[in-house]
């Protein structure tokens, strides 16, 4: 770089030259700064994803590694007011399994054995052999660790019970049932609509109908929840009542049906895009062989655009799995291990909503449990998203 000080700029040409050089340098710096800012914006989505994963893991890992203290109360013996500790079977510091005896009592009315309500290490026993305790009083503390087995094998989700349970399957069953009901509606209806829009409809009518159908996905889900609970559910109760089936006001059937309506545009719109991407020659070839429109659609277009249609289905599944407000309102918020759609049950998302509605103490195991459930939901949707991406990539027909 030449000297830029005004003193050395003796002639006009030098001044012009120098100014231009200065301008270019500043321009380059400016371009560099702008590119840097844009890069930061571009990378922000990765940072957000890392943030989500870190937050979910930072609560899920303590959920499985930090033990919670469980209290066990003295048993009741009919006819007795107080009990005397006659023997401590599992002293402080020993490990007990769920259901193992911990303390033995005697009383005039009879004897009793206190059993552990959870597995873990005995932290504290409030009383020694020979002391008298009242019934139903806090006696033993057990340091209990939620294990993967508790999470994946148990079939009850009840984090705020006295004897908390964290069986994720009762939530997965609700998620699965509502999603299946939704797909039962959305896949046939959405696919037929897609074929109809791409093969039967006039192009200018399609230009109006397609965005109008997409409005179905734009309706706020809480409004759909209102619709499912207060309109669809009574109608379904009446319809099923004619077949002699009674159903409560909260049921997975209504929630699933409305969720199905919500995801119709995901199926229809994306499948239609895929079908229209099939080259016109294939269509014309089919017509030339004397096929009707429906034959062309079902035997040529659907197989040719199968990757696009499948990824549309998978997107719709991911959307249904993660849907919250419809199920929280219409399917009830009580975890229930069942696949019967006429029953009330909570999905993973509804359980999270239900837990956050109450006042969950931060740093409690119940608080961490919703993050563990959230991670589970995230993994399920991620699985479907990646599967859709791979199917699209692998089976894409190149024309």
């Amino acid at each position: 770089m030449t000297d830029l000080s005004p003193a050395s700029s003796t002639t006009e040409t030098t001044v012009g030259f120098d100014l231009r050089r200065t301008g270019n340098t500043w321009q380059r710096i400016k371009e560099g700064i702008i590119e840097g800012i844009l890069f930061v914006a571009g990378i922000s989505s990765v940072v957000i994803t890392i943030g989500i994963v870190v937050v979910l893991l930072s609560e899920t890992i303590p959920f499985f590694t930090v033990p919670e203290t469980k209290t066990i109360y003295t048993p009741t013996v009919e006819g007795a007011q107080t009990l005397t500790i006659s023997k401590i079977i599992a002293p402080v510091g020993t490990y007990v399994d769920k259901g193992a005896p911990v303390v033995e009592f005697s009383s005039p009315a009879g004897s009793a054995v206190l059993t552990a309500t959870a597995s873990g290490k005995i932290l504290k026993i409030l009383g020694e052999v020979g002391t008298t305790v009242e019934m139903n009083k806090h006696l033993v503390d057990i340091s209990h660790l939620v294990t993967l087995r508790d999470f994946f094998v148990d079939t009850l989700w009840a984090p705020v019970f006295d004897d908390p349970r964290y069986g994720i399957w009762s939530l997965i069953s609700g998620t699965l049932t509502t999603t299946l009901v939704a797909l039962f509606v959305a896949i046939p209806v959405g696919t037929i609509i897609a074929i109809w829009l791409s093969e039967y409809c006039y192009p200018n009518v399609r230009e109006v109908l397609k965005p109008s159908l997409e409005l179905l996905a734009a309706v706020p889900t809480v409004v759909y929840g209102y619709f499912a609970l207060l309109i669809v559910s009574p109608v379904m109760q009446w319809v099923l009542g004619m077949f002699g089936i009674t159903m409560g006001g909260f049921n997975m059937l209504s929630a699933g049906l409305v969720m199905g309506i919500m995801i119709i545009p995901y199926v229809a719109s994306l499948s239609e895009d895929a079908m229209r991407a099939v080259p016109i020659q294939m269509r014309e070839g089919s017509y030339a062989m004397g096929a009707t429109r429906v034959q062309t659609a079902l035997r040529v277009l659907v197989p040719a655009s199968l990757s696009g249609i499948t990824s549309a289905y998978i997107l719709a599944i991911a959307r249904a799995v993660g849907e919250t407000m419809i199920v929280a309102l219409a399917a009830g918020q009580r975890p229930n291990f069942t696949l019967n759609p006429t029953q009330e049950a909570a999905t993973i998302s509804a359980a999270i909503v239900q837990a956050t509605l109450g006042d969950l103490p931060h740093d409690s195991t119940a608080y961490r449990a919703i993050f563990a459930a959230g991670l589970m939901l995230m993994l399920i949707t991620l699985f479907f998203n990646i599967a859709g991406y791979l199917i699209r990539k692998r089976y894409r027909e190149a024309y």
Binding site: E31, E35, L38, F39, A41, G42, I43, S44, S45, V46, I48, G51, V55, L56, S58, E59, V189, I192, I195, W196, L197, Y200, E207, L209, S212, L213, E214, L216, A218, V219, P220, T221, V222, V223, G225, Y226, L229, L230, I261, I264, T292, R293, V294, Q295, A318, G322, E323, T324, L329, V353, T356, I370, F371, M378, T381, L382, F384, N385, I386, Y389
Partner: protein, 491 residues
């Protein structure tokens, strides 16, 4: 054709007819399903409007100071006669009356004394109504009595005839001493507590509370479904959308420009692209957990408007990025090449060509993002917004008594009832509203639907109409913009 038998032709023809019939049936099924889907949307909207209509349109009168009505409130209208102020009470309905004692008084001037109320509607014990004896000043109210026969359905469901008396009171004098009369408006509806304010046929002006007409849009949520409204909800929605847009649009557009114009073809770019696609598929409840775990507990922004706006801003970010990229991608590369060819730098090309030409697409995407954010409920429930919010966030500039001085004044008032009221001051608090608690339309709706009472469901329907009109309106605008601008631009 000669070697094809007649039977074969007939068979082929019927086969063709069958195929064509199937084709027609399929066509009508498809059309029927499209209509049915759109009809669902229509039914949903019409149903919401029918259920919510009464809540949307009804108005009620409330005290301007929001203290709520007592059970024995008297409502009247202020009138000015010369320099005198008077209160014209609304006709008072007397219930639970003894027909035999009151019937002779019908059409005559009567006086009311002993205002301790028994009947909740009127605030007057009907047994204190009697003919005027002595000076009128001895009575609290003077007026004429009318009687009407009415059919009323009693508790057993039988229709019974009952007498209903109405007392049309003469205007009562308002004692305006010690109050600035210019603050009183002739014709204003006001409320008076009879137990405290009314004595000797006059009412003290300081005990009068003006009434205002309220509706669904300017009332706070309430335990009384008739008076519950969405004021705090729509203000919250508006403010949160402001924060959401301020975060998501600049960030999303910048990210879109980077990916389309600057990003080299490498693994990092591929990662960002896959990542954005995945981020768009993250369930909204997960964003709520992110907000709860990161913003509320780690960063400590609280259960506030800024947390909600930030969360929704990040939630709709992928929508803005994807629509920006699509808009930029539709600009032909010749535009770029021409700009570079004329000596423009990369940023100049983006600033003067790419951005202006992709602006319609970016605008459409931002509107879609906004409509998505307006309807989001789950992440905000997770943050913990589901509370009874009967206040508005503090405005950026406020003229009020400082809180510390107000507390001192409240203390002083206990010892000395005539303590001077501290002076109001201008407060500049431009970011204070960001830290305020909030509620939004979808959460208000969720709360109302969750209640067992039918009346609250009507309120929920009314909130649903507003919410649906907002989202469908925004989406309609986006569709219209896309359609119009696409026709206008030709490369």
């Amino acid at each position: 054709m000669s070697d094809v038998s007649n039977d074969k032709i007939v068979q082929l023809r019927s086969q063709i007819a069958r195929r064509k019939r199937f084709d027609r049936i399929f066509s009508s099924i498809g059309g029927f399903l499209v209509v049915l889907s759109l009809l669902t949307l229509g039914v949903l909207f019409v149903n919401l409007v029918i259920d919510g209509w009464s809540a949307l349109t009804s108005t009620y009168q409330a005290k301007a100071d929001q203290s709520g009505f007592g059970r024995r409130e008297i409502i009247g209208k202020l009138i000015q006669e010369g320099s005198e102020w008077k209160l014209q009470l609304r006709p008072l309905v007397l219930t639970d009356v003894d027909d035999a004692t009151l019937q002779p008084l019908v059409g005559k001037e009567v006086g009311v004394k002993g205002r301790m109320a028994r009947a909740p509607e009127s605030g007057f014990d009907p047994s204190s109504v009697g003919p005027i004896e002595g000076p009128v000043e001895n009575y609290d109210l003077v007026g004429t009595l009318t009687r009407q026969q009415m059919s009323v359905i009693d508790s057993q469901g039988k229709t019974v005839q009952t007498a209903v008396y109405t007392l049309k009171a003469r205007p009562i004098l308002v004692d305006v001493s010690g109050i600035d009369p210019s603050k009183l408006n002739p014709g204003q509806d006001v409320s008076v507590d009879p137990k405290r304010a009314l004595s000797g046929g006059a009412v003290v002006a300081s005990n009068i509370v003006p009434l205002v007409t309220k509706n669904f849009f300017n009332s706070f949520p309430s335990r009384d479904p008739e008076q519950a409204g969405i004021l705090s909800a729509w203000v919250g929605t508006l403010l949160i959308m402001l924060v959401t847009m301020v975060i998501s649009v600049p960030l999303g557009v910048a990210a879109g420009i980077y990916l389309e114009e600057y990003a080299p073809k490498n693994k990092l770019t591929a990662l960002i692209e896959v990542n954005i696609a995945n981020l768009a598929g993250v369930p909204s409840i997960i964003w709520g957990l992110l907000a709860l775990g990161l913003f509320v507990y780690i960063i400590g922004t609280g259960r506030s408007i800024q947390t909600a706006g930030l969360t929704l801003g990040l939630l709709v970010l992928p929508i803005v990025i994807i629509s920006t990229r699509e808009a930029i991608r539709s600009i032909p590369s010749t535009i770029r090449e021409a700009s570079i060819g004329l000596g423009a730098t990369k940023w100049q090309t983006v600033r003067y060509h790419i951005l202006p030409y992709s602006l319609p697409g970016i605008l459409t995407g931002s509107i879609i993002a906004l409509s998505r954010a307006i309807g989001e409920t789950a992440p905000l429930v997770t943050i913990g917004a589901l509370t009874f919010i009967a206040f508005l966030p503090p405005p950026p500039v406020e003229y009020k008594v400082p809180e510390a001085e107000w507390a001192v004044y409240q203390e002083a008032l206990k010892a000395n009832p005539s303590a001077p009221i501290p002076e109001k001051q201008w407060h500049f608090q431009p970011t204070e509203w960001l830290k305020s608690g909030f509620t939004v339309l979808p959460i208000q709706l969720f709360q109302w639907v969750s209640r067992p009472q039918k009346e609250f469901h009507y309120n929920a329907a009314a909130a649903g109409v507003v919410l649906l009109a907002l989202t469908l309106g925004l989406n309609g605008t986006a569709i219209y913009l896309r359609y119009r601008l696409r026709r206008k631009i030709s490369w």
